[in-house]
């Protein structure tokens, strides 16, 4: 690792529950003070919780660090402390360089102002100087594809246009250190990809980035190293692939594992794995076929005339393929539902299975299979990205000529 540009040491943050849930009415404080005046000089009863507890981390120059964890695990709090929005209760951090934070798309936008005015306002709030915005203005508008609408108030924009402008401004922020929270999960798929591309450029330009995301494939794509935060503490730090898969396993285990007692008596899908071709990981596919995949199902009440659906989505939630099997009979016990594909021409990226089970007309289980399917097969497509399609088809080529 090169020199650390972000160094956090033993950061803890305590919140008062009341302080964040409601703004507190003067009446309550007054009433309490009148009833028991001494409380005014006392510490409040500890109605507090620790959003972060002794978190330390180091980020090297030019590193793209992923931050993952469940909702409420403290990722955003950590980002807010590093971007100075709130201050730690204890611990310290040192940041060397200009920091820009992107916790929301469209920070500071005002509906009554035009696109141009908002670009300036939002840019200034995010930390750009007026000169800088003027210099990049045309680029921003072109990126947002809003050339015709720059002088229209943004309240007349569609939500897509709004988001595009907002992101375009943010994407042109050029701090040395960028802190990003989940903002890429916006806009239509095409624009989302453009943003990801821009983020990639930023990362390659040697800037340091901390990225919080729930979209694990995004983390995989962009981050070298990942920190997993759990209940306000760092659970694991390391290379992205390692940490993300440990996280995925942990996320699946408590809800889907057969050990869980509460789920014991319900009919539900337990897990999935690739049977063929056998590889290092049961969730990674490194050829286009033949492929067989097994979905493990626990049945606690017999199913008669059941339907079983399967769907495959890509990481941008486009349906790749779906199918259903009807008139199933399943007795209680554990079953492996095995799908065999002579050929599965998927592009090398991540996909998601969705499994469903119906008893007559009643839905018994709907499962977004975890972990994702990672496809790592060779790419048989055009060398240029923009000519990559849905299918990863190997092709043979020959020239057959007739004598003229």
């Amino acid at each position: 690792m090169t020199t650390a540009v972000i160094e956090a040491h033993g950061i803890s943050k305590r919140y008062e529950r009341g302080a964040i849930s409601s703004s507190g009415l003067l009446r309550d404080t007054l009433a309490r003070t009148l009833r028991a005046p001494w409380t005014l000089f006392q510490r409040q009863k500890p109605d507090t919780f620790w959003a972060l507890n002794d978190v330390s981390l180091q980020v090297g120059e030019g590193e793209v660090l992923g931050l993952i964890g469940r909702n409420g695990s403290g990722k955003t709090t950590l980002l807010k402390i590093l971007s100075r929005i709130t201050r730690p209760t204890s611990g310290w951090a040192e940041i060397h360089g200009r920091v820009g934070s992107l916790l929301e798309v469209g920070t500071g936008f005002h509906p009554e102002l035009t696109g141009r005015e908002n670009a300036y306002l939002s840019g200034a709030i995010l930390g750009m100087s007026r000169k800088e915005i003027t210099r990049k203005f045309d680029e921003i508008v072109a990126f947002a594809e809003l050339e015709k609408f720059v002088d229209t108030p943004v309240k007349h924009y569609s939500s897509g246009m709004y988001v595009r402008l907002a992101f375009a401004v943010a994407a042109h922020l050029e701090p040395e250190i960028l802190l990003v929270d989940e903002v890429l999960a916006v806009g239509d798929v095409k624009f989302q990809r453009k943003c990801l591309g821009k983020m990639g450029d930023v990362a390659r330009a040697g800037r340091t980035i901390i990225l919080v995301s729930h979209q694990l494939n995004q983390i995989r794509r962009l981050c070298n190293r990942t920190v997993w935060v759990d209940s306000g503490e760092v659970r694991q730090t390391g290379p992205t692939a390692e940490v993300v898969s440990a996280y995925e396993t942990a996320m699946t285990a408590p809800e889907r594992g057969s050990a869980s007692s509460s789920a014991q008596d319900k009919t539900h899908f337990l897990s999935w794995r690739i049977l063929e071709p056998a590889g290092d990981s049961p969730h990674r596919l490194d050829s286009v076929g033949p492929v067989s995949v097994a979905f493990r199902l626990q049945v606690s009440a017999p199913i008669r005339h059941g339907h079983q659906g399967i769907a495959l989505f890509d990481s941008e939630r486009r349906l790749m393929w779906a199918f259903a099997n009807d008139d199933l009979t399943l007795d209680t016990g554990i079953h492996d539902l095995i799908y065999k594909f002579p050929f599965l021409p998927l592009c090398p990226k991540s996909y998601n299975w969705q499994l469903s089970l119906w008893n007559e007309k009643e839905n018994v289980d709907l499962w977004e299979a975890i972990p994702e399917l990672q496809v790592a097969s060779p790419n048989y497509q055009h060398a240029l990205d923009e000519w990559n399609g849905f299918l990863n088809l190997p092709s043979e080529f020959r020239i057959s000529s007739e004598k003229g």
Partner: protein
């Protein structure tokens, strides 16, 4: 206020190294007294953007737009002249009552609108506050200053108005900016307190219109402060707006005596309010994002 004082996470320095290298140190707040006015200077461009936004947005989608700035005090003056001037025959320091009243209404309108703006500015910018860092002090400062644009327009009308009444500006006009500055500091000082409290207790938002109403009655807007008995004059001067309005009227028309004693009391009290407001706001700043 127990919850205020028991919360340790508030202000503190983000001391940057004296050398050119940009290093931020993020620490828990330690002491009360950590004014970072030089940081405010660093963010002056953002301050101007906030003021610009306020002015730009204020009269959007209104039919008569910026004319409201003039219509409001003008109508108030007409009504006051009718009731207080003609019917109640309040003394007006030898000036036509309309001039007497209008000269007070222009700074007063600035004061009352800016105070309401400043009170709500933190709560209204809640989304920005919780999403990005900048010195929070910018918000009440921008609210106190953005009203000056309106004031400027009102002031031009006032000048024309007094001139039309045959009152020629005296040398005292040169002192007018001082009184305006005093008004700005009053707004800022009180606004700092109220905006930070408003982030804690939304009651403040409902309280402010009352405060403004009482404050109008306690200020020499419609009546002359000479009606206040001499021995209570210093007490009256504890209302900084008394000093501002008396001084403003005196500077504009050049009639009457310089309101020296009122002015001294007013200046003193403004200094105290402003200084304590800065401390309180600063103390709250670190936790404002968590509380608002």
């Amino acid at each position: 206020m127990a919850s205020v004082t028991s919360n340790p996470s508030s202000t503190g320095p983000l001391a940057s190294r004296p050398s050119g290298s940009l290093t931020l140190r993020i620490e828990p707040p330690r002491t009360w007294f950590e004014l970072r006015l030089q940081e405010l200077w660093k963010y002056r461009e953002l301050l101007l953007f906030f003021i610009w936004r306020d002015v730009k947005v204020r009269y959007k989608q209104t039919a008569i737009g910026v004319s409201w700035v003039i219509v409001q005090p003008l109508l108030t003056m007409l009504v006051a002249t009718l009731f207080f001037g003609r019917l109640a025959k309040l003394p007006s320091q030898g000036l036509p009552y309309s001039v007497f009243c209008f000269a007070a209404l222009v700074p007063w309108t600035y004061f009352s609108t800016a105070l309401v703006l400043a009170t709500n500015v933190v709560v209204e910018n809640q989304r920005v506050i919780t999403k990005v860092y900048f010195p929070r002090l910018i918000l009440p400062v921008s609210a106190s200053l953005s009203g000056l644009v309106d004031f400027g327009i009102g002031f031009v009308v006032l000048l024309i108005f007094t001139f039309a009444h045959g009152i020629r500006p005296a040398w005292t006009l040169a002192l007018l900016p001082l009184f305006l500055l005093l008004a700005v500091f009053t707004v800022l000082g009180v606004g700092l307190w109220l905006s930070a409290l408003n982030a804690l207790y939304r009651d403040v938002k409902y309280l402010t219109p009352f405060i403004v109403q009482f404050w109008t009655l306690a200020s020499p807007v419609y009546y002359s402060s000479s009606m206040v008995p001499e021995r209570y004059r210093w007490l009256y001067g504890l209302n900084p707006m008394a000093g501002v309005i008396d001084g403003f009227r005196w500077a504009l028309t050049g009639t009457g005596q310089a309101p020296t004693s009122t002015l001294l009391a007013s200046s003193l009290i403004v200094c105290i309010v402003l200084f304590s407001g800065l401390l309180f706001f600063n103390y709250m700043e670190g936790s404002i994002a968590d509380r608002v």
